[in-house]
């Protein structure tokens, strides 16, 4: 059966929003842990601020709050409906998309999404302060895993599946790039500390945000080093949250769509361009060019994939 352009769009954004909810939880976890290591007066934390800058939600936050402490930031990132990237907004948007495409997803996918939203909507922000916050962040990640598991386990491998997968990996690429960029925001004012204990500790937290701190040991058998960690999250395609891995999956899924529809679409070129950024380079070149500049360009090319995809498949 032919697929509506609107359905394709909704599928793409459905998995993007679920992935984004998960990544907001990961980002907040890093920001929270970082803030524990260096408290400032009045509870405000520059780490939380840089985390919000990485997520590009800092302006919205500043408009509502004076102090960036754990409580206000967590509330804004987790529950604020005015923050379009909050976990609340993401899950609600994902669920609305899922409702619109009930006929294009399986019952299992729908139930995992609907269940996650219904449960989350019951949570009262005041009940997850302090130590309980990490538990909730863990829960958000688990529901995202459940959604993806239902999708991988039950969804027909048709065009709809490729739209879902494309959304998933476009969003993940964006978020990993942002998590890495956070390091730039955190370190920029104190570049002299590169290689120091604090530096390493921060890189460790970034690995943790990507659920990669154990995997790192298996791959590098080495103590934490910034160039290895950056290599792991950017160029290592076996690392499922790395830019290389995500770009590869975006390309695979868009090529798959091209095959299914029997024609090459413009968005495939955009995906090629994204992938070439992480294929024809090494860490020396990236650091030489500037990590922040590299990541900014990657995020821009990743955005172009979405635009091209919308045009190629009549999203509206």
């Amino acid at each position: 059966m032919k697929m509506l352009g609107r359905t394709a769009q909704n599928l793409f954004w459905l998995s993007r929003y679920v992935e984004r909810a998960e990544n907001m939880a990961r980002l907040l976890e890093v920001g929270y842990r970082m803030s524990l290591t260096s408290r400032r007066e009045g509870g405000a934390s520059e780490h939380l601020v840089s985390m919000m800058q990485a997520a590009e939600v800092d302006e919205g936050f500043d408009a509502k709050h004076d102090v960036a402490d754990v409580d206000t930031v967590a509330r804004y990132m987790m529950f604020d409906p005015d923050n379009p990237s909050s976990v609340y907004s993401c899950l609600e948007a994902a669920r609305t998309n899922a409702r619109s495409v009930r006929t294009a997803i399986t019952t299992d996918v729908w139930e995992s999404m609907n269940g996650a939203w219904l449960d989350y909507a019951q949570i009262k922000p005041r009940d997850v302060r302090g130590a309980k916050l990490l538990g909730l962040l863990q829960w958000v990640k688990q529901r995202s895993h459940e959604f993806r598991g239902a999708m991988l386990g039950t969804k027909l491998r048709d065009d709809g599946f490729s739209f879902l997968q494309a959304g998933n990996f476009v969003e993940r690429a964006d978020n990993t790039a942002r998590i890495l960029d956070m390091k730039y925001y955190v370190l920029l004012p104190r570049a002299t500390l590169v290689g120091g204990d604090l530096d390493i500790q921060q890189w460790t937290l970034i690995l943790r945000a990507a659920s990669a701190h154990r995997a790192y040991r298996h791959v590098y058998h080495d103590r934490y080093k910034s160039e290895n960690i950056a290599d792991f999250l950017i160029l290592r395609s076996e690392m499922p949250r790395s830019l290389a891995h995500c770009a590869d999956f975006v390309k695979q899924n868009l090529d798959n769509l091209g095959r299914l529809y029997g024609r090459k679409a413009d968005c495939q070129d955009a995906a090629d361009s994204l992938l070439s950024m992480v294929q024809n380079t090494d860490m020396e070149a990236i650091f030489g060019h500037g990590l922040h500049e590299f990541l900014t360009e990657f995020i821009a090319r990743n955005n172009r994939v979405t635009e091209a995809l919308s045009e190629s498949y009549n999203f509206y």
Binding site: K2, E111, Y261
Partner: protein, 474 residues
């Protein structure tokens, strides 16, 4: 009045013995340990909520999605009872379709004076744009829900015919699904006719009424107002079960007198549209110009015979509450047969004598607005207050043609789970009928139950619930 007698109990004879169709259920109920029903009820609630089987309640911000209460005790209809009912239903839908064809063509029934011309031509539900149009296979109402109540062992009455966009069929299907999960042992003891064939029959019906110029398998779409509509769940459910496309207005467009949907590979023609949007909102070019829900130009494509609209626009004239009183007449006129199913006797308030009698006996009567639905705009005399009696008396005097008045029917009761106990509650029944190349009636239908003790109002918007409905096979 009928209201003063004990209502007909579908499970027990007046001497307390169990009626034959309910024997297995009765034994099963006796075997259930304490709290088993309450546990089933909790499980059922969880099943429905998780599946997202909800209806929206307009106007409230929080918790806008509600689960319709589901009663775990099924309602049972014997094979011979069902045979009678389904014959009567088939007769009715055939006559109503013949009536619609006539009304939008030669209008013989009006010329013969059997139905008053004024009642039809001045009616809001009459759609002049439909005059002279030839729908595929001559069918106007393809999907019909007939509301039936029972007041005695052999006494059934049709309360109303729903020919526009009858809803609730998804509950019929999900109630069965839930019941099979909750009480598989009870199914093993009974021979229950399947309802699961409904989506397949719906698809066959829709394919059979595709425009005649369609080659190959027609493309079928369900047209929904969108996710905020109260019946959205049902729309997506049916599209899913049929493997049809679920479209919103903006997904469709008309070009060169044909309807297309916007797909990932460009325009794709649509041949049959099961629309769940009311006539008024279907096409801003033909009907309400302010509507954003429909598709501009779709009515012209329909007139040109390039797409079939299901149900046809203008079918509402046949389920109008005032036209309802003429249905026995309509059956005789077109089929030359006597109606097999009774209408509820209905008083005509525009007749002076009848009106005087109605006003005097208002406390025993049911008053309904001609165009009301969902249990709004109605009054049930025996349970209404004196103030409400007075209010409706005034309303009838002011606009006698806006109301129909009927005796309070003593609806039959079925055993129902109420707080861990089993108690009789009033029920009605909505069987679903499909009309295309043939008439297909799903055995059973949706039983609605008034959960409040003594209440006769079964609408979900008024706190009613639903039951799985079992038609037993011989």
């Amino acid at each position: 009045m009928m209201g003063e007698k004990t209502p007909f109990d579908e499970m027990y004879n007046p001497d307390g013995s169990v009626r034959e169709p309910y024997r297995a259920l009765s034994e099963w109920l006796d075997e259930q340990p304490d709290k088993a029903l309450a546990l089933m009820q909790t499980d059922a609630e969880a099943i429905f909520r998780k599946l997202g089987i909800t209806f929206a309640v307009y106007g409230s911000e929080e918790g806008t999605e509600k689960v319709i209460p589901f009663d775990v005790i099924p309602r049972i209809i014997a094979a011979n009872e069902w045979r009678r009912l389904s014959k009567g239903i088939e007769q009715r839908v055939k006559a109503l379709n013949a009536f619609l064809y006539d009304i939008y063509h030669r209008q013989e029934i009006l010329k013969a004076g059997r139905v008053p011309e004024k009642l039809i031509l001045n009616n809001e539900a009459f759609c002049p744009q439909m005059m002279g149009l030839e729908p595929a296979r001559g069918v106007y109402a393809h999907i019909i829900g007939v509301d039936i109540v029972r007041v005695g062992p052999d006494e059934f009455y049709v309360l109303e015919d729903n020919l526009r966009t009858p809803s609730g069929v998804s509950y019929m299907l999900e109630d069965r699904e839930a019941m099979m999960i909750l009480a598989p042992d009870l199914f093993q003891k009974s021979k229950v006719a399947p309802v699961e064939t409904y989506p397949e029959n719906l698809r066959r019906t829709l394919e059979s009424v595709a425009p005649e110029n369609v080659r190959g398998t027609p493309n079928i779409a369900v047209l929904t107002p969108g996710i905020y509509n109260s019946a959205y769940f049902e729309h997506s459910f049916l599209a899913d079960q049929m493997g049809a496309q679920l479209c919103e207005g903006p997904d469709l467009f008309v070009d060169g007198g044909k309807v297309y949907m916007r797909t990932t590979t460009g325009p794709e023609q649509v041949h049959v549209i099961y629309r769940r949007i009311d006539d008024d909102y279907l096409d801003p070019l033909t009907f309400r110009p302010d509507s954003m829900l429909g598709v501009p130009g779709i009515f012209d494509a329909y007139r040109a015979g390039n797409v079939t609209l299901v149900n046809a626009p203008g079918t509402g004239i046949a389920d109008d509450k005032a036209v309802y009183t003429y249905v026995p007449e309509i059956i005789e006129f077109y089929l030359g047969e006597k109606a097999l199913l009774n209408n509820v006797p209905t008083y005509n308030c525009t007749d002076e004598d009848q009106r005087a009698w109605v006003l005097e006996n208002i406390a025993d009567l049911v008053v309904k607005e001609v165009h009301g639905s969902g249990g709004y705009g109605m009054m049930v005399g025996p349970t209404a207050t004196k103030a409400q009696h007075a209010e409706f008396k005034k309303k009838i005097e002011a606009r006698p043609d806006n109301y129909i008045v009927q005796p309070t029917l003593n609806l039959s009761t079925c055993p129902t789970h109420i707080n861990g106990d089993v108690a009789p509650r009033h029920v009605d029944l909505r069987p679903y009928v499909l009309v295309g190349d043939e008439v297909r009636i799903t055995p059973g239908g949706l039983t609605r139950v008034a959960l409040k003790k003594g209440s006769l109002v079964v609408n979900s918007s008024q706190g009613g619930g639903t039951k799985d409905t079992w038609v037993l096979e011989d």
